[in-house]
């Protein structure tokens, strides 16, 4: 098993099954999910199909100025141990003091995910030893978290074409507030670990998604939608690359009708792409293992992005006993609504769930629906618009400045502008073609001063970012459409005159 590389596993998976397809080309899903949502990949001929089950635990760093229980700053990449208070370092005599902003962020997120908000939630201690956890325990919400029983809807393209989208839902088990740990840097050469506590105590929202997903693509799509929601709410910036959004996947397989199989936990996933790969790999690994008569261990595995496979995490300590106990220094967290609002309390001490609900911004799903309604574009177009930071704004700005119908403008945005940006790895903000310039160009096209082909040529020139206007480029390259009737007749006549034989053939039919 150790000698077998990940590529070997992929190839075998595809060759299995009578007349199976060739090894999955890059970009295609290895595990196909049928329309009902249960994945049924071909097993060895004669064996029953498998149903993969995927659940997710997502940790999102709360976007706040200071930490969950202390007043030290939250900031990425600062000098080591410069953003650490005495409480964060777990010095004796310090106590946790809850940050109001973190509570509001969790409530917003709970409401956006259709959860029931627990008006009374509790804090607990989860004990384990690690160098980056100075207290020896993490303050979390194990018994009664702040929000429970929600749902998240997300969309997938069937068959990798943008033309057909299907909507799926995943249940949200709960959202809890908890502390982040510090960072360990492993120095293997000197056989030591360097510890930076800047991250220790930063507020996290743990979002637990029930095992309603069946493959890597679904997991990635669900997380992507969650990311967009968090960014829209502002409760987390959710940038995976900066560790603001961390995902652990729980994967198992079973035969239809039988009970769930043993699950493994997959950690160390740093991007949406790797999430899909890690989940699909793990599903395939488990299927192979079971079909070969092996068993699945309830273990934690790490995703190796270079090899594209999961490997067991060295866990010499066996099953952890976290010895959960109530956090004795924090009374229950009480939230209010319009009805239960206490009369004599200081505003600053009150978190009103209804007040927060009234002020929730439009969620991505609502934004998309509005775009489709207002501009007559297709649902899949609205997905692409929201998926690229700044693209919706760009599109709306162009529409404002041109008479061309939004339904036509969208083609230029998604086919021309976006593909150019992708080719050159630019984000919308960095586009050398501004919305003003594009609108200018589309106006020339709309007024029939240039042809569509000419417009594409002008656009190619505009990409160079030399500061020329579309009008200037048209003049320079003589791309204007000829409007003069006489001139057009002369040109047509000249063509006919020059091709006498062909003309005779055409006239004769």
């Amino acid at each position: 098993a150790a000698a077998r590389g990940c590529r070997g596993v992929w190839r075998r998976a595809w060759q299995r099954g009578a007349g199976g397809p060739a090894p999955a080309p890059r970009g295609q899903r290895a595990v196909a999910c049928n329309a009902r949502g249960g994945a049924v990949p071909a097993g060895k001929s004669g064996l029953a199909p498998w149903v993969p089950v995927v659940g997710l635990e997502i940790h999102a760093q709360i976007s706040s100025n200071s930490k969950l229980f202390s007043g030290s700053q939250v900031q990425f990449a600062a000098a080591p141990n410069s953003l650490v208070s005495f409480f964060d370092a777990s010095l004796p005599g310090t106590l946790p003091v809850l940050n109001r902003r973190c509570v509001e962020a969790a409530v917003m997120t709970g409401l956006a995910l259709n959860c029931s908000i627990n008006k009374r939630s509790l804090f607990d201690r989860k004990h384990y030893f690690y160098a980056d956890l100075p207290a020896g325990y993490q303050i979390t919400q194990q018994r009664v978290p702040i929000a429970v029983n929600g749902s998240l809807s997300y969309s997938l393209c069937i068959d990798n074409k943008m033309s057909q989208m299907v909507t799926k839902t995943v249940r949200i088990k709960q959202i809890q507030l908890e502390q982040d740990s510090g960072k360990s840097l492993h120095d293997d050469t000197r056989n030591q670990t360097l510890v930076d506590l800047n991250r220790a105590g930063v507020g996290l929202m743990e979002v637990v998604m029930e095992p309603d997903m069946c493959c890597g693509e679904e997991a990635a799509a669900a997380v992507r939608e969650l990311q967009l929601i968090l960014q829209t709410l502002g409760s987390s910036q959710a940038v995976m690359a900066e560790g603001q959004l961390r995902v652990d996947a729980n994967v198992s397989v079973h035969h239809p009708g039988e009970h769930y199989g043993v699950r493994t936990e997959v950690k160390n996933i740093n991007s949406l792409r790797f999430l899909a790969k890690a989940v699909d790999y793990e599903i395939q690994r488990q299927i192979e293992e079971l079909e070969n008569g092996g068993t699945i261990l309830n273990e934690t595995r790490a995703f190796d992005s270079k090899l594209g496979c999961t490997v067991p995490m060295r866990d010499k300590e066996g099953k952890q006993d976290y010895r959960f106990m109530p956090e004795p220094n924090l009374p229950p967290l009480i939230l209010y609504d319009a009805k239960s609002l206490p009369a004599n309390m200081n505003h600053q001490q009150v978190v009103n769930v209804d007040w927060i609900h009234e002020r929730l911004p439009d969620l991505p799903s609502v934004k998309r629906a509005k775009l489709v309604e207002r501009y007559g574009i297709l649902p899949e177009h609205s997905f692409t618009l929201l998926n690229e930071d700044g693209l919706t704004e760009f599109f709306e700005n162009v529409v404002k400045q041109t008479r061309m119908k939004p339904k036509k403008v969208i083609g230029w945005i998604l086919n021309d502008l976006l593909s150019y940006l992708k080719q050159h790895s630019l984000i919308v903000k960095e586009s050398p073609v501004t919305s003003f310039l594009l609108a200018d160009l589309l106006n020339l096209l709309e007024k029939k001063e240039i042809s569509s082909t000419a417009a594409k040529q002008v656009l190619a020139e505009l990409w160079k970012g030399e500061g020329k206007t579309p009008f200037e480029i048209v003049k320079e390259k003589k791309l204007e459409l000829i409007q003069d009737q006489k001139e057009l007749e002369q040109i047509c006549q000249a063509v006919i005159d020059g091709q006498e034989n062909e003309v005779i053939m055409m006239v004769l039919g």
């Binding site: 007043g71 080591p80 004990h127 670990t193 510890v195 010499k316 924090l330 009374p331 967290l333 978190v351």
Partner: protein
């Protein structure tokens, strides 16, 4: 309730305590007995209380940066440091299994 060798071994693993001798184990045994008296109270239908603070208001702090920036002070406590990092061993060193370590519990 008697604290079995399995439980004592488990506690030594988890909390890195060392019961050291018969007296240490006996002290634990007495503590368990003392706490077991709680079972004599009928708590049917009574919500557990985990803190005398349960009726107090949980104070909420404004999201302002008021602490931190004391690297040097914190590092004064460190036995070893590298630049401004705390130094720790490469990883957790788990307590060896009962059969493999020298402990009073072996003989029990």
């Amino acid at each position: 309730q008697k604290a079995t060798v399995e439980v004592l071994d488990h506690l030594e693993h988890l909390a890195l305590v060392d019961f050291r001798d018969a007296e240490g184990v006996e002290r634990l045994q007495k503590a368990i007995q003392f706490a077991d008296q709680l079972h004599e109270v009928n708590t049917d239908g009574v919500e557990p209380m985990d803190s005398v603070l349960e009726d107090r208001c949980l104070y909420l702090r404004e999201d302002d940066v008021t602490e931190g920036n004391c690297t040097n002070e914190l590092l004064k406590n460190a036995r070893e440091k590298v630049e401004e990092y705390f130094v720790a061993p490469p990883g957790n060193i788990p307590l060896p299994k009962l059969e493999e370590r020298e402990t009073f519990l072996q003989g029990s």
